[in-house]
């Protein structure tokens, strides 16, 4: 209980005044008695003590009314801690399934969360959100421990990458920013800058793991050679490990397994031989003695009969077509056409200087945005950002002279791969991204105005190689996009055997529920499409040193020290009580008078 006007307690000084009034009244009150005769002997001696305070029910009522009045002036209020809404983020990313002996990290996390729920204050409410995928485990905040426990029990670990910060932000948004505390149960390392009101419970211990972190089927771009399979594996342990890689098609071994010794924390690309005429889906299987995670030991890939796609140069500007043609002619293995491809529905790449994306069978677009030489800015150096495939074979900083286009109407979308230094500022030069199932590379380099330097050519052909790369394979959690589907029902056969059906209005079909690794089969009329969803995530596979995906949230919960409290003012109640007392006093007084 707290007092809103504590200074009003000084009014308690009026109580002695009441006592004095009653004592004065008692001293001067005349009481008629039948006779003083019985007390004559007593009256002969003087009184031994002072007249005492004589009180009756009226006095107690008045005293009570006075005290209540003082209390009402003090404005007492019962302060109760407001029931807390706790946002619990349960990490369900693939790494949580890691285990060598004993319970998995996910089981430990669920036990930790269940213990917290069991110990919660009765009025506290939990809102549980999982990270991979980010979904609300409970539809709304709940204070029922049994219901929360059942919901936690029902959660299963996913085969996706998880991001704690994203889950926290989405959870906060679902709660409307009402979360008083945030509890994160994860196997990630505890971040150093955890704000007040956020608690991170880390479960699990470092575990040894080996994983497939990359899978590629490549042919030389400018030479005629058989395709080969390149598997990138990594040893996430502090000890050397011997792994074995095998290739299977529909469960049947396709080639002899390949063994390799991996040093601690070593990443290595292992080429796997496949038959020259082979075409179709392959499954790559990794086996290792100490392996804590199973989901990263398998991957699927589609081997095509022709790895090099035809290129169509589409532009209204002849100089542009000429320069690009000269570049493409340098590569013997490439087939290209000046203008759109005759069979527009056949898979091909488009090199253009336009903004609009061509329809049809174009699986990738390379845009070289034109510029007006007089208005464009020139740059002399560029910087390779990140480890994108387009940046392969390029030094980090390269002296390059090129012309930049003038101000663009719309900024190109995608991830910056190369940055140019223009007047001391970093300007994105090459961006790589995807749009409606197509890979797109945007060059902010004018090929006509720029000299054909080797770095520019390497970047150009790297971009073509990346655009021709595997597009039938996505990672878990990424959407599967099928272009140009007719209207009608689409049936999806998931890797775990379940079937989903959708009514498709036509056009691009986007399937967002690719949460499990494996092969997905899409049936649309007589058309069948197969897409592979692989779990290729070094961050998740690294169970030895889990890095944190936490980043400071914009709407941090209130600090527990100044947590909001609900107040229930008692003044009205006290005033009602005083009125009741005064009425009782009035009734008693009139009764006595009567």
């Amino acid at each position: 209980m707290s007092f809103l006007s504590p200074w009003a307690l000084l009014w308690l000084g009026s109580i002695p005044v009441l006592l004095w009034i009653w004592r004065f009244a008692a001293t001067h009150r005349q009481i008629s008695i039948p006779s003083l005769v019985p007390f004559e002997r007593l009256l002969r001696r003087p009184p031994r003590r002072r007249t005492r305070l004589v009180v009756n029910t009226l006095f107690w009522l008045q005293l009570a009314a006075l005290i209540l009045l003082v209390l009402a002036l003090v404005q007492p209020a019962i302060v109760q801690p407001r029931p807390k809404t706790i946002l619990a983020v349960l990490d369900t990313s693939a790494s949580m399934a890691g285990r060598l002996r004993g319970p998995s990290r996910f089981e430990l996390a669920k036990q930790q969360l269940a213990r917290r729920i069991a110990r919660k204050a009765p009025r506290d409410q939990y809102f549980i959100v999982s990270t991979a995928p980010v979904t609300a485990v409970t539809p709304e905040p709940s204070g029922e421990s049994a219901r929360l426990g059942q919901a936690v029990d029902a959660v299963r670990v996913g085969e996706m990458t998880g991001n704690v910060a994203t889950a926290v932000q989405i959870g906060q948004a679902l709660l409307g920013g009402r979360a008083d505390r945030i509890l994160v149960v994860t196997d990630e390392a505890r971040p150093a800058d955890v704000p007040a009101g956020v608690e991170v419970l880390t479960v699990g211990e470092p575990l040894a793991n080996t994983a497939i972190v990359g899978l590629e089927s490549e042919r030389p771009l400018c030479g005629i050679a058989a395709p080969h399979l390149m598997v990138t594996v990594e040893n996430f342990s502090a000890a050397a490990c011997r792994i074995q890689l095998s290739v299977r098609q529909d469960g049947r071994p396709l080639a002899e397994p390949v063994s390799k010794e991996l040093a601690p924390r070593e990443r290595s690309s292992v080429p796997l031989a496949i038959p020259e005429t082979f075409e179709g889906w392959l499954e790559v299987i990794l086996e290792a003695p100490e392996d804590a995670l199973a989901v990263d030991n398998r991957a699927h890939i589609l081997i095509r009969s022709s790895a090099v796609l035809p290129v169509a140069v589409v532009s209204e500007h002849a100089p542009f077509r000429r320069v690009i043609g000269e570049w493409l002619s340098a590569c013997e293995a490439l087939t290209w056409t000046d203008g759109p491809l005759a069979d527009a529905q056949a898979p091909h790449l488009v090199v253009t200087d336009g903004q609009s994306a061509p329809d049809g069978g174009a699986v990738g677009i390379l845009r070289l945005l034109p510029s007006l030489a007089s208005q464009g800015a020139a740059f002399a150096h560029w910087v390779v950002a990140g480890d994108h495939a387009i940046g392969a074979y390029l030094p980090s900083v390269e002296p390059v002279v090129a012309s930049l286009p003038a101000a663009l109407k719309t900024a190109p979308a995608g991830e910056p791969v190369l940055w140019g230094l223009v007047k001391g500022r970093r300007v994105p030069i090459v961006l790589a991204g995807e749009e409606v199932g197509r890979r797109i590379v945007s060059f902010s380099i004018d090929p006509v105005a720029s000299p054909s330097s080797i770095p520019v050519l390497v970047t150009f052909f790297n971009s073509l190689r990346w655009l021709m790369g595997q597009t039938d394979m996505v990672r878990t959690g990424e959407p599967i996009i099928l272009a140009s589907l007719e209207p009608g029902p689409v049936t999806v056969h998931r890797p775990n055997g379940t079937i989903e059906r959708f009514s498709h209005p036509g056009g691009t079909f986007r399937y967002d529920a690719a949460t499990a690794a494996g092969r997905y089969r899409f049936l649309h009329g007589r058309r069948e499409e197969i897409r592979a969803v692989n779990f290729l995530d070094p961050l998740e596979s690294n169970l030895l040193e889990r890095s944190s995906t936490w980043r400071p949230v914009s709407s941090a919960p209130a600090d527990s020290r100044d947590e909001p409290r609900s107040q229930h003012p008692l003044t009205n109640f006290l005033i009602a009580l005083i009125l009741g007392l005064l009425m009782a006093e009035w009734w008693l007084y009139t009764t006595k008078k009567r």
């Binding site: 008695i33 006779s35 003083l36 019985p38 007390f39 305070l53």
Partner: protein, 295 residues
């Protein structure tokens, strides 16, 4: 509400079953009753022999005794008188405090005793001790006098302060109180000396005395009544600042009452104390027979 409403048939029938306890009878002023006294009378009950004196009725000479003793003796007979019952009710101001019910109960008690007396064919009179002219009812002789008696009791009013002794002397002379039975109903709020002297005045007039002290519970434990302040004696108007403990007040009251009880006991005067929280009927039916008032 009629004055006799409280006199229910049940109460009356129970009162009729009682009679006043009479230990001895001395000469009264009513002849022809059923109580013989040792005074030469005209009843048929032989009392004694007496030597003949001139003037005696020669018809009373016992000639057989003269033949044997050769001396003249006359036979004397007891005189039969009726019992007179004087009900003396304290009507001083103290009887009105702390509640008027005290005086009302005193009158009701007197009416009950009076009715018992009437049922015993006694002569009953009610007198109220208060200043001024003597307030006394006429004699009541029969049961049919119950209603007039109750109405007179109902109409009695409280007076001021008096000296019991003076009032008794005046009443004895004016009302010719002599012989019979006198029942004093009072709260005892009087100086003990005055009280004792007043009773002496009655005793020397051959009255069989009985005393009933009527008190309220608050008077028995005055601390409940007098809770500080200036005490005012309702009879004398004397004031006193009260600054005594409850125990002291209780002890003083107890000692005062004990003085009255001791005096009555020493003189063979039946004494009963009626506290107002006890029902009237219970007091009359149970307490008074035990205390020697009724039988």
């Amino acid at each position: 509400m009629p004055a006799v409403a409280w006199l229910t048939p049940e109460l009356l029938s129970r009162l009729e079953a009682l009679q006043l306890s009479v230990r001895w009878v001395r000469a009264g002023n009513r002849l022809g009753g059923r109580f013989p006294i040792n005074r030469r009378g005209s009843s048929v009950e032989f009392a004694d022999y007496a030597p003949y004196a001139a003037g005696d009725d020669i018809r009373a000479i016992d000639w057989n005794l003269y033949a044997r003793l050769d001396r003249l003796f006359v036979k004397t007979y007891k005189e039969e008188i009726e019992l007179t019952v004087e009900l003396l009710i304290d009507a001083t101001s103290s009887m009105g405090l702390p509640a008027p019910e005290k005086f009302l109960r005193a009158n009701q008690l007197a009416v009950c005793l009076g009715y018992i007396g009437l049922c015993g064919r006694h002569h009953v009179r009610l007198s109220w001790l208060k200043p001024g002219r003597l307030a006394a009812s006429s004699w009541f002789h029969s049961r049919s006098d119950l209603v007039p008696m109750a109405e007179q009791a109902e109409g009695a009013v409280l007076g001021g302060s008096i000296s019991y002794t003076d009032w008794m002397r005046r009443a004895a002379a004016a009302l010719r109180i002599r012989g019979g039975q006198a029942i004093l109903i009072t709260d005892g709020m009087v100086r003990p000396a005055d009280f004792f002297q007043a009773l002496h005045v009655l005793m020397v007039r051959n009255l069989e005395l009985k005393v009933i002290q009527l008190l309220t519970p608050q008077e028995l434990h005055p601390a409940k009544l007098m809770r500080g302040g200036l005490l005012v004696d309702v009879e004398t108007g004397d004031t006193h600042q009260l600054a005594y403990s409850a125990a002291e007040l209780d002890r003083a009251m107890s000692e005062h009452n004990e003085q009255l009880v001791r005096f009555c006991k020493r003189h063979g005067i039946p004494f009963a104390r009626h506290v107002l929280d006890e029902p009237l009927e219970s007091f009359v039916m149970k307490t008074l027979p035990v205390r020697g008032f009724l039988e």
